[in-house]
């Protein structure tokens, strides 16, 4: 699942696994095996397993709980869980509007601040984030360019590996 020290997540983004030690790699193998053996997210078996397993592993190494959630193994374990949730119909692969909302939540104090920075109207943004309307590609590209972001094309993820 990790090829050439790279793990490709659901978003098609690369998680760099080159710094993992042998124990961490073994833990990922166990997580992968467990998710393979318990693929139905509705049973919550993997969900119950991975948090405890990864949490205990890193807490024993002295990491804080917040730091545990930033480790490569945690992110990969999360990604495996997300794949199971999508396969079970409990979640749905995001579209650009979810990414837009994440960007606003993380980088701006309010939707208004984001609109002022990008030139988008608040009314339009409200409809877009509520998934009632879409932005044209050029409109989105122009708006994102004003804040230093761009659209990028990526391969559709293979949900179950």
């Amino acid at each position: 699942m990790i090829h050439a020290n790279k793990y490709f997540d659901l978003r098609g983004q690369i998680i760099d696994a080159s710094t993992l030690d042998e124990e961490e790699r073994q833990l990922i193998d166990k997580l992968q095996q467990f998710s393979d053996d318990h693929p139905d997210a509705r049973t919550a078996e993997y969900e119950s397993y991975w948090i405890r397993r990864v949490g205990d592993f890193y807490l024993a190494r002295g990491l804080s709980r917040r730091d545990v959630t930033r480790t490569v193994v945690w992110r990969i374990a999360q990604d495996l869980n997300s794949r199971l949730m999508i396969a079970a119909g409990l979640a749905k692969v995001h579209d650009y509007r979810d990414e837009l909302e994440n960007l606003i939540l993380l980088k701006y104090k309010s939707r208004r601040a984001f609109c002022e920075a990008t030139g988008l109207s608040e009314d339009m943004l409200s409809h877009v984030l509520a998934k009632r309307k879409n932005l044209g590609i050029q409109t989105l590209a122009d708006a994102l360019a004003k804040i230093g972001y761009t659209i990028h094309i990526t391969q559709v993820p293979d949900i179950l590996h």
Binding site: R42, E47, R65, K131
Partner: protein, 116 residues
């Protein structure tokens, strides 16, 4: 002897609210945020298997709404209650809900999004 803990449980609907949004399933990033926060703030959480079906009256539209939710169970100290409410308030925004159902040792609250 350690002080007894409170058993708390809450429900997160599997889909976005149909009035606030489009009624579609959440993106996985939303669930990932929830797991990060639950572990960071409370460490332990129980995930009951299966999902919970419910029906309620929407307070705004007065229409009958059916939903399906995931349930989470926590054992926390009294002093952590406000932190749990704060988490669920943020969850209302991220999961696009009007409120979330929170049971605190059998007493139920509906936690809404932040007022500001």
């Amino acid at each position: 002897m350690a002080a007894p803990l409170l058993e708390c449980s809450f429900l997160i609907p599997l889909k976005r609210d149909t009035n606030l949004s489009d009624g579609q399933p959440h993106a996985p990033e939303r669930w990932e945020w929830l797991y990060d926060e639950l572990f960071d703030r409370f460490r332990g959480v129980t995930f009951p298997p299966l999902t919970y079906l419910g029906v309620y009256e929407d307070p705004d539209t007065h229409s009958r709404v059916r939903d399906e939710s995931k349930k989470y169970i926590l054992a926390i100290e009294d002093s952590q209650l406000d932190e749990l409410r704060q988490l669920l308030s943020a969850a209302c925004v991220l999961f696009e809900q009007k409120c979330t159902y929170l049971s605190i040792a059998g007493r139920v609250e509906f936690v809404g999004p932040p007022s500001s």
